[in-house]
Assembly symmetry: D2
């Protein structure tokens, strides 16, 4: 250790000669950097409370506050300098504070352990991350909503098993994603609520013998409650797992949207075109225009699921209370949040600029086989049991497929030969717009149902944004 270096916080016990490879392996400063704002805020609140309960004099408190403000300023300017002996950002801040505030700085860690400090910092980060993710989801929902509003009357084939199934509107299809995202909003909100509990004051695992006022600190930091059990408080990383799980499922939703963007951009589907600004080319093939953003987002889905696996496996079989394994929570949580948030942002822009090829969609939906169910349900309404109707139409599909015709080509005579229940109006079923109009009850793809969905979703997005509150 150089003569002028600040000793480690535990140098009294162990001395200060740590093996360099151990220092490197256990260091987490790079990852922890983004905890700094929360760390400073937590220290300010802790100091105010120590002052209120008489552990700090007002002069000491003032020195600490101005020291922390200076540190905060240094961090913002990028002039804050880490020293080789700083084990982590928490000790770096404390070391710098002693430099700035003198012995008073050495009083800040009173009644506090890194065990409760670091998880408080991480919960502050996590609450902010939930807010950011929620607003980013609302933005993507808004983008989808805008496009849905334009395409209430755009008919396209709905698919099951990637086979054309029945006609739907593009608006209805896009709104399916808005619904998924709404559940994501719910999950992240629930995770945030369970995260909104302050562990500070739990010390290493057994609280403190000092008369700390935890409620005051919690109020100051904006936590809804203080933790109920000090051992659980330092051992718990549920909130990290829960947010990572919510992100993993959200990314799965986005992967489905991306799969469709990739599919729809093919020459074969041709349902969407990407503007040149949102596609990339090939280094070798001059003609290529690729939906890279959608592919990459799809590929990053696994990465977030991988972070979830990492967190669950990290926690498995750990005895209480704090174990150093928990340091790995940050790498996984930060990466899950970063990937998810940036994917939401890039897709928000991508959705906004997609060019839907309405005519191509309409042509694809014009395949009269998509109306086979309508014909079967027509028979039901004329008294034929559904199973029988299904069989009659199934055979008609088979016959027309073999002879290269479509259901729309079948004559009334032929229909009536298949079942006497057919009346002349059967031929009117093969109008696509009519098919949408026939599906207009709650949740269905018809225009009034979609209008109702749009209203509902608009309200939900507004509520989400309101509930997220100020930064």
């Amino acid at each position: 250790m150089p003569d002028d270096a600040t000793p480690k916080v535990w140098a009294g016990r162990l001395g200060d000669e740590t093996s360099p490879i151990v220092e490197e392996y256990t260091a987490g400063i790079d990852v922890d950097l983004r905890l700094l704002p929360g760390d400073i805020a937590g220290s300010l609140a802790h100091a105010a409370m120590l002052n209120a309960i008489g552990v700090l004099t007002s002069a000491e408190h003032d020195a600490i506050v101005s020291g922390l403000e200076r540190i905060s300023d240094e961090i913002k300017r990028g002039t804050f300098a880490f020293q080789p002996n700083d084990e982590d950002i928490h000790t770096a801040v404390e070391r710098r504070l002693v430099e700035l505030a003198g012995p008073a700085g050495g009083k800040l860690h009173t009644g506090r352990s890194r065990n409760d400090q670091v998880v408080t910092d991480l919960r502050l980060y996590a609450k902010g991350a939930c807010r950011d993710l929620t607003l980013a989801i609302a933005d993507l929902q808004s983008a989808l909503l805008l496009r849905a509003e334009e395409h209430i009357a755009t008919v396209m084939p709905g698919y099951t098993h990637l086979q054309r199934a029945q006609p739907v509107s593009l608006a209805h299809h896009l709104l399916a994603y808005v619904e998924m995202l709404q559940r994501d909003v719910g999950r992240i909100g629930d995770a945030r609520a369970r995260c909104d509990v302050m562990p500070l004051g739990s010390g290493a695992l057994a609280g403190s013998t000092l008369p700390l006022d935890r409620e005051a600190v919690a109020r100051d930091l904006g936590f809804a409650a203080v933790s109920a059990n000090s051992i659980d408080a330092v051992a718990d990383r549920d909130f990290a797992v829960e947010i990572a799980a919510a992100c993993a499922l959200l990314m799965v939703h986005l992967s489905r949207l991306c799969e469709e963007i990739v599919l729809w951009s093919t020459s074969e589907f041709g349902f969407v075109s990407l503007p040149d600004t949102h596609a990339t080319g090939s280094s070798i093939m001059p003609q290529k225009k690729n939906p890279d953003v959608a592919e990459l987002a799809r590929g990053r889905t696994g990465r977030v699921a991988g972070s979830l696996t990492a967190l669950l496996m990290m926690l498995k079989g750990l005895p209480l209370a704090y174990n150093r394994d928990l340091q790995e929570d940050k790498h996984a949580l930060f990466d899950a949040v970063d990937v998810t948030r940036s994917t939401l942002e890039v897709l928000t822009e991508l959705v906004a600029v997609l060019r839907f090829n309405v005519d191509t969609m309409r042509s694809a939906a014009a395949d009269s086989a998509l109306l086979a169910t309508d014909v079967a349900e027509y028979l039901v309404q004329h008294g034929i049991p559904f199973r029988e109707s299904h069989r009659i139409i199934g055979e008609m599909v088979r016959r027309t497929t073999t002879s290269g015709r479509t259901l729309a080509d079948v004559t009334l005579t032929e229909w009536q030969a298949a079942s006497p229940a057919f009346e002349p109006d059967v031929l009117g079923l093969f109008d696509i717009a009519g098919a949408l109009n026939r599906r207009d009850r709650p949740g269905e793809p018809g225009p009034s149902s979609v209008a109702a969905q749009l209203d509902r979703v608009r309200t939900l997005i507004d509520e989400t944004r309101r509930a997220a509150g100020p930064e």
Copy 2:
């Protein structure tokens, strides 16, 4: 196909000669069996609605109801017979219904697709599973609570890094698990609420052209709402992922408890003994007594995390709406729920019969090094900055360790040589009961704090049981 077999529901279109290996690969009857009760309930509600909107006559409805009741009865008695041509339980029930109720049976599938039917069945199952899991958690919480009530005054070492850290009470330690489980209750409750939405009426993906009354069916089946978008309704398996994620984290909690039971059962710790009824022996070593239940539960944690991985990966990159990949939801969800529930049950019993070796715990906690922080905080209360106090005590620990003494052996003269701030009452710190009493603010291990925790938890468990409602 044997002459007398019922044809497949889509035999009109494709004929009925399916390759045997395809039949075997796609069959899911074994797994689906437990959906049967929900399937019957769903069919009864659907039939009632079809009757109300005039698709079924009252006579047809009566025939269907008595047919379904008969089938339900056959299932309960174990006499229900599947036929080789039954693709799944849904078609088996329909096939049998036609046998029992004649042509009316063929009308039941009107306005319904297997796509919306199967996910309705699965949501009914999932809601019940959430209720069962919640009650099983409450039972384990109660078992922990009972043991905590017995051990408010049982002192043991609290551990961090598996090193003895500070004295806590066994009650406080056990209550840490109750807190974890309380968050599990919250997560499962949230998952259940998002699951409580009825997809029936969404058809294959585009609803129906018939005037279905979805709200009536939802009321009948006890769903809180109907799904808002038919495409999302058949494509969504969020609820399965969310329940599996909640189970995976719950199992991680249980794995931590099990790790401690295993550790505490060792000769080295000796904190608990298992009754012979809850341990197993060795086939070769006559002296062995093993905590197999705890080990097995810990080992099954990975299995539930694996089910979560399976579900996320299954859904990744699937285009809308229904794809047959989704059939795999059941294997993963059922296994996650079964493993989690049975683990909760076996641990509830295990916790109840554990024998805590109170004297061994107390001896382990008597290590005066566990009070080093108390001495440091004593100095703080006598005006020494914490960092300085920490250093002073750290050096004293180092010195006593080297000389084979403990902190409790240090004389007043030595303490005062280390810091003039020490007064004679420092020697009184080395009383373990006193150490607990000094930690008695909210969340801390002292007896009044623990009493308050017990009250809080008792209330929460009651609320959980009440909220779970009747079966």
Copy 3:
């Protein structure tokens, strides 16, 4: 315990009153059933060795052999009856053996623990599973090979980013899967080799004080070697992880093939049709014909990856040597192998019956944009740097796309205006068959390269089958 029940193997130490819920939770008989053949084989080999070293008399040995043969027979006929007190199949076999062979049966477990016995059984199973998987892969490779042989001249678009890129042959495309599968053969072979080590004789973890002849038992059971360290031998489940990992990657390969079958079956691509025998229909939509097998196989990919996650997480952080957590190895390994093997089998049949729509493929490949790289490389051969060529052709693509023309429509004058390096033969580039012929070096899609690939692959498959050896 009923009076006449056989006591547990460790009843001397713990008594025999195990809690029913503990019995149920720890039971593994259902899962372990398929270990029975290996268990009997292992016992026969062990008994022969005990006889050879004098622990068993020849009479005792004869009694044990005929007892085990009878048990083996009972198992084959399905008449073997488990008793409630049988902890697992190993103790069930031993219990039955004592019934059949008298006291001699009680000598079989000499020098053997369940710890080394169960992992020996599992390794015997695993070696067989590797063989089965390898042969199933070879069968799928053969099916692909047969189809490739038919389609050396079938031109289709090769895709990158799911955008049409350059013309390839269907044979070349199918052979890409054969190459992937060849690496799977390699991985499973390597896993099998590492699995081919006999742990028997390691006892509980410390061998035995008896003069066991492990080499003789290994020879008898067909193991290549005996384990080198008894602690490792009972604690190790690497082979299960390694086989599960090989299966997970193999399933990922199959998921890619299935994704293409699903894509190619769409109305939009139309590259393949499924025979009715290998597709399924819809319960509601009479026109539907779905590629369910390919979807389900794709969906089951996650399940195998989930088994791998389960195994890794089970093993994480386990101290040496045997822990009961390891019992979970079987559920995960059996399921991974079963799913992978059945998927290989069903896809082998599916590949054989796929109907490739050669004309549709050819039309899709006729898009002259796919030859843009060829034109750029033409310019390179006429002295233009590739970057410059790429830019020239890129601009030509842009111009023709805007004006609704294709590269094949560009006149010689226009080409020469773009670059004076163009000569009249540029117009000859737009012949698709020629494009394949221009790519005929090793690894390329041209016909001679593909013929060479077919030869190579044919030889590899033969070698695989030969190396797999007799059952």
Copy 4:
């Protein structure tokens, strides 16, 4: 785009106005940096071949070589400057090359696509990573071997179910880890062999119309073979999955070692002490000394398993050939390799400095219950069937446990009352050193067996180092 910026490689086709958020989302330069050495090497080999086949003149080749050398030099000095328009490191290098070498630089990309270039670079990295990992494993094996050599006669309890089971030597226990690591060497070697195939020349997916000499490039770059199918070559990431899987299992092994270091460092076990240089202290508890390195390594196990999950999920369901999803391979592979390698390194040092508390181990092993199996096997050697022996000794354990005695306290009279087969020499069994000597056949913990294991392992480590070859 600023006036003087170099255009994107595909600007001819799409123009050059890419959305900033798309640029940021798709950029991979930070991650790709470590591919640079392989990228330069690959370009040099490609250029040499282009010169040999006449695509480059010698002057052009010279200009390219000196340009690439200059770039390589800039990279080493840290003066290489990326430009905002550089899509990735490959285009950055090409852009800089054009600056340095003029138009000749524009010829380097002839017959090469980023699709084959990037996977060639990654394979070069992966081969090096396999070598590094292998040597790092050998170093850890050597460290374990050295400690084992010191402790052939150090007796300790062997554990199953974390219960003391039978006496083993510390050497034998440490050698169990050497065996595990030897299998890791095997897996990584197999992965490296399958990785040793050069894709370059596969172009985008369909090779090239130019007469490339792929074999020459492969020789130049040290690849054992060229890829056999161009589509597979650009679509395949098996090697990344396989290395990540090998790393995940290796980390699981290390997590078991770390679990034991944590356990053994407890006050309760007390089997090892950490030097102050390799432990850390507490910010609040002055007495603490924590095994942070072992905990952190254990916690990072999940991270590597998470990378494996990410890779499998990324690949699942991707159609052929290249898709941009594959860009995510690098983040996962690099992290898996980095974490695994650094963990190997830090544990190599930790193993070297661990202080084994030999007396504590010996005392723990002195528990005579650990010899119960020896007594049972003694009876077997005196003609009693093992099951009967097991029962006799089990009852004796039960009786002595109840009365607070140990097996060593049982008198000859008592033994003979339990079974007349006991002779006076039974009392000699309770000598621990003798117990080890009785277990001295291959794989057992006795001194000669361990000596043989040490010889075997020494040879294997030497072979590993030799096979790894020069850097």
